[in-house]
Subunit: 251 residues, 2 copies
DNA sequence: GTCCGGCGTTGCAGCATGTGCAACCGTCAT
DNA sequence: ATGACGGTTGCACATGCTGCAACGCCGGAC
C-alpha cells in the first residue's frame, strides 16, 4: 500500500539471507542507489539494520530485541481465553490453562463446568506436577537432560493407585506424551476425575502452555471424555495459531 | 531520513509493548488515523504485524522468522577473522576460534604463530574437550542439567598429569570458568603448551564461540601468557559486539 | 607514485506518492 | 431506535520521495 515502506521492508528478508552492500540492495529492489541508501539509513537509525566494518549491511540488534520483547509481552491467557470459553460451551466441562514457571506448573485460567458437580482448582495454584495432563504436556517438551534431572528431583505422592509411582514411570509417560502430542490424567489425582489435554505452541514449536478438559466419572466416563480429544487438540491448535500470529487475518 | 519509513518503523516498538488498536497507534505516532491505517496495512502485508481477532495489532510472526534466519546465517568465523588476525599481529602466537556443535567442540579458524615453533591443530578438528580452554568456555555456558549429563558421558584421558581427571573436577572447572568469564589450559593437553581463552557472546548473552591464544613453554612461560588475558578478552568482546550488531557505526 | 575503477554520498528538479480531511459504514450498547 | 465509537474509503493538495548526475573517497594495478 505504501511504496516507500513496502520497499524498506523488502530489504529485511533480503538481508536475512546474508550481508549485502548498497548496490546489491539497490539492484535487488530495482531502485536507484540513492533511494536504497535513504531507506537503509532510516532502517539503520531504527537499529533494524547494522553496518559492518566492511560497510555491508546486516540485520540489526533491534530486530532481535523487538522479537524478544514481543514474546515477553505476549499474554497467552488473554489470547487463549475466548477459545477456552468456546471449548467450554461446546463440551460443558471444566477447562484449564496452565504454564510452566520456575519449577512449577501453574493454572493461569479456568472456565467452570456447566454441570452442577465441579472440581476443585484455583487460578494461580500449582498443579499436581507428576499426574496432571497439563503438567505432562509442559514437561514433556523440556530438553532430555532437564527432563531427567527434574524427574529425579520430584516427589511422587500416591494420590490414588493410578498416580505416577516414580521417576522412571514419569519419564516413560513424558516420552509417550511428547510422541503423541496430547496427554491424559485418568484418575491419577482424584480417583473419580479424568482429564484430556493438548499443548499450545509458540512460533518456534516450543510448548508455551497447555489446556485441558476435566470431568468427574459421574458425569462422563473416561472413554466418553476421550472422544473430546480431537476437539481439545483443535482448540489448542487454534490458540497456537493466534499466539504465534499465523492465523489467516481478515481484509 | 525517510518520513514514511520512519513512522512505520516507529510503530514496531510501540506494538512490542503490547497490542494496540488503530486509534492508539495513530495518536502515539501523531498522525491521522488513515495514515496509520495505511502504514499498518503495509506492515501487515509483510507479516511484520498481525491482526488479532479483536482487530488490535500485534507484532507478527515474520519478525521472529527474520530474527531467527538472520542468526542462522550469521557467520561467526567471517566476522571474527579480522579480529583474530589483529590479535595474532599483537602477540605473535597461535590464535584459535572454536564452536560447540553436536556434542563436539570444533576449531573453525586458526591464525598460525609467527614463531618458528608451532602447535598441531587443524581447522574442523574436534578439540580435546575435557582440557582445552575453548571447550571449557563453550561448555560452561550450557544449562546446569545438560552440563552435568554431558560431563558424566565424557571420557577423561590423561594426556598429561595436569589433564582434567574426572567429571567432578570438570564440573568444578566449568563453574569457575562460568564465573570468571575466561579459561586456561595450562599443560593439560600437551605438557609444554599453555592457552588462555575468552568467550564470544551473541545478542542474548549466550556463548556462541570461543577464541584462545596458545603458546609453548619454550617461547613464553605460563605467567607471561596470562598477561595476554586482557588482550584476549578485549578481542573476544570486540567480536561479540560486531557479532551481536552493537558496535558504534560510522556516519 | 599515479591512474583508474568501484562504490558510497550529496544536491537538486520534478512529480509521484503519501497526507489529512470529511463522509461513510458496521457494530455495539443504551 | 438511536447514538457513539472505531475502522474504512475517496479525494485534492503539496509534501517528501525519486532518479539523475556529479563528486569524493579508497584501494588495487601497473
Amino acid at each position: 500500500m505504501s511504496q516507500t515502506v513496502d520497499r524498506a521492508l523488502s530489504i529485511l528478508p533480503l538481508l536475512a539471507e546474508g550481508p549485502a552492500n548498497l548496490e546489491q540492495v539497490a539492484q535487488r529492489l530495482g531502485v536507484h542507489k540513492s533511494t536504497a541508501l535513504r531507506l537503509l539509513r532510516t532502517l539503520h537509525e531504527h537499529g533494524m539494520v547494522y553496518r559492518q566494518r566492511d560497510q555491508r549491511y546486516r540485520l540489526g540488534a533491534r530486530l532481535f530485541a523487538l522479537a524478544q520483547q514481543a514474546v515477553e509481552n505476549l499474554d497467552v491467557r488473554e489470547i487463549a481465553h475466548p477459545y477456552l470459553v468456546e471449548l467450554n460451551e461446546k463440551c460443558g466441562h471444566t477447562v484449564h490453562l496452565a504454564v510452566h514457571e520456575e519449577h512449577e506448573v501453574l493454572y493461569i485460567d479456568k472456565v467452570e463446568s456447566r454441570y452442577p458437580v465441579r472440581m476443585y482448582s484455583r487460578i494461580g495454584k500449582p498443579v499436581a506436577i507428576t499426574v496432571a495432563a497439563v503438567a505432562k504436556l509442559l514437561l514433556a517438551d523440556l530438553p532430555e537432560a532437564e527432563r531427567r534431572t527434574l524427574a529425579e528431583k520430584l516427589d511422587y505422592p500416591l494420590y490414588t493407585p493410578r498416580s505416577t509411582p516414580n521417576a522412571a514411570a514419569f519419564l516413560k509417560e513424558l516420552a509417550a506424551v511428547r510422541e503423541q502430542g496430547w496427554a491424559t490424567d485418568l484418575g491419577g489425582h482424584e480417583e473419580s476425575i479424568n482429564c484430556v489435554g493438548a499443548p499450545v505452541r509458540g512460533t518456534d514449536g516450543r510448548v508455551v502452555a497447555a489446556c485441558s478438559v476435566s470431568a468427574p466419572n459421574v458425569v462422563v466416563t473416561a472413554d466418553e471424555l476421550l472422544k473430546l480429544l480431537p476437539l481439545v487438540r483443535r482448540t489448542a491448535e487454534a490458540i497456537s495459531r493466534e499466539y504465534a500470529g499465523r492465523a489467516p487475518s481478515s481484509p
